[in-house]
Subunit: 124 residues, 6 copies
Amino acid sequence: MDDKRFADGLEKLKEIDGKAGETVISNLQEIAPDLARYVIEFPFGDIYSRPGLDLKSREIATVAALTAMGNAQPQLKVHINGALNVGCSKQEIVEVIIQMSVYAGFPAALNGMTAAKEVFAERS
Amino acid sequence: MDDKRFADGLEKLKEIDGKAGETVISNLQEIAPDLARYVIEFPFGDIYSRPGLDLKSREIATVAALTAMGNAQPQLKVHINGALNVGCSKQEIVEVIIQMSVYAGFPAALNGMTAAKEVFAERS
Amino acid sequence: MDDKRFADGLEKLKEIDGKAGETVISNLQEIAPDLARYVIEFPFGDIYSRPGLDLKSREIATVAALTAMGNAQPQLKVHINGALNVGCSKQEIVEVIIQMSVYAGFPAALNGMTAAKEVFAERS
Amino acid sequence: MDDKRFADGLEKLKEIDGKAGETVISNLQEIAPDLARYVIEFPFGDIYSRPGLDLKSREIATVAALTAMGNAQPQLKVHINGALNVGCSKQEIVEVIIQMSVYAGFPAALNGMTAAKEVFAERS
Amino acid sequence: MDDKRFADGLEKLKEIDGKAGETVISNLQEIAPDLARYVIEFPFGDIYSRPGLDLKSREIATVAALTAMGNAQPQLKVHINGALNVGCSKQEIVEVIIQMSVYAGFPAALNGMTAAKEVFAERS
Amino acid sequence: MDDKRFADGLEKLKEIDGKAGETVISNLQEIAPDLARYVIEFPFGDIYSRPGLDLKSREIATVAALTAMGNAQPQLKVHINGALNVGCSKQEIVEVIIQMSVYAGFPAALNGMTAAKEVFAERS
């Protein structure tokens, strides 16, 4: 059974962004508790728990992808927080977002920077 | 004038994927030589040459973004090559692509893995 | 002339989500009344009025697509309402949105669920 | 452990498109066998095995989403096959794809129809 | 009835890219003749026939959008042809595509330029 | 050095939408002043300053692309303003946005029209 995946995922999610994890679970509690469970089990229990890529690089990849996709602002903010929590500097995050201007265009980079600005302000 | 940006960009592009750089320049020679110049100046001369994020992390960010966007297979292959050239292991690239299943869905990850498979085969 | 397409479309739109139909028409009244007319004629007069696929399946397809695209939250809410109006259960809608985590990633599914939560709350 | 998820997923995948399942597993065998395992466990073991939405509706949702996203042609072909295998008629699939012209534009619908045409020809 | 929309659309489509129009109709003949009819009626009969924006500007808008979206290469080629047919110069098309590097990133611009290169070669 | 690119870009940006230019620079001042500099240098200093396509056509291309992409509402508003500032009529902008229903679907056109409505109201 999946108790181990769930427990591993919850621990990993706490390491990355514990408060966001609680918010997601609580938001989905009534409408789709299984989706909350999947969020913990698959992304965090299966993927982020894998060896082969350090957690800091994983968060760089996620911040890059969400900035480039440009349609997932709440999740981008979670992972900017997560990146900071696992050891990325603000400067590194800013660099990743600037770099997305090359691959997804300037609007994606500008809107990603707005998310970073909000996260940095909330943490200061 | 921009001689320095162009020279810096060309050097950086050679460090990342020299052959791909030559191909891009040669493909655009007749139709849009200025676009080739911009590719060298802005992404490579301005962005990849910046301090604040190491080149390996930059390539992880790019492989993540292009896998997630799912509509830039030729450029994804260039940057899988680039990632290997600047020190990423095959395993790290595979991990980044697997992780994109979480953010952009399984089709994006599967099609990204096809690109990686082709690049790995071409290099072996 | 297109009187029949318009009348058919208006009737179909009322069956799916009458209030949203009125809102779209009224919002576009001054700036682009022709776009309001096209919305009624083509999607609802031409497409949703076609035989060959029942209306419930059509709304499942639309909720899936808009959740996956992730950049049309107002229209997703209209069609979650529409799906309920033509016979989908809340559970079926929740299942469609959860399933999109596979094809468009978890952020798309989470943001789609936020839309569903708002619609369900507005109707209760 | 996940033996049950894997076994459930494999059975469900066989019900939807057994040959495609084998191809995915075999294609990923050397480069990323874990991604093949995840494809079976999460989409098919966790999601498609859920009650609350019949398999035919699930395939309609997937064909809609992949047509609308427009960047996952191989997976769209798998699920057009899957839709036929679980009871959708060709006409229903054609209707879903036509409908995507409304939400993702005519190019998405036209390119989706090309995929359907290829699948229908391969099966005849 | 829609005879006038169809006739107007067919005439407009011939003005823009007659050969592509015939190909679309012929490709859809067996699988979805109604989609072919819609392609002629709505985009060309309704939209391109509208006053308020000259045909050359309409084609600039379409080439820009399809380059930026990056997932509709066949349709992009049709409209690069169309742009040339209604009076855009090759240089103007090249400029539109270069400009998309700003809004959708360099890969979109590079892949759009590949489409332009193919169209220019086919016409020479 | 790039003084000329920056000066050219700033002048061009003022011609298109001076207030938006100031806002972007000021918003990025603390978090990423270099991104503000790049926005001025590359899009406006390099691209919009090029000959070969008039400024009005450039803004039509940008409004089309941002409407179709559907994930850059703040930048779309800047360029609807810009289009008006360089000589597009409101009607021409409305036509470009309506036309995007064909290529990116009705939700993209409807959300683009919302942006236009807000800009037109702010200017009146």
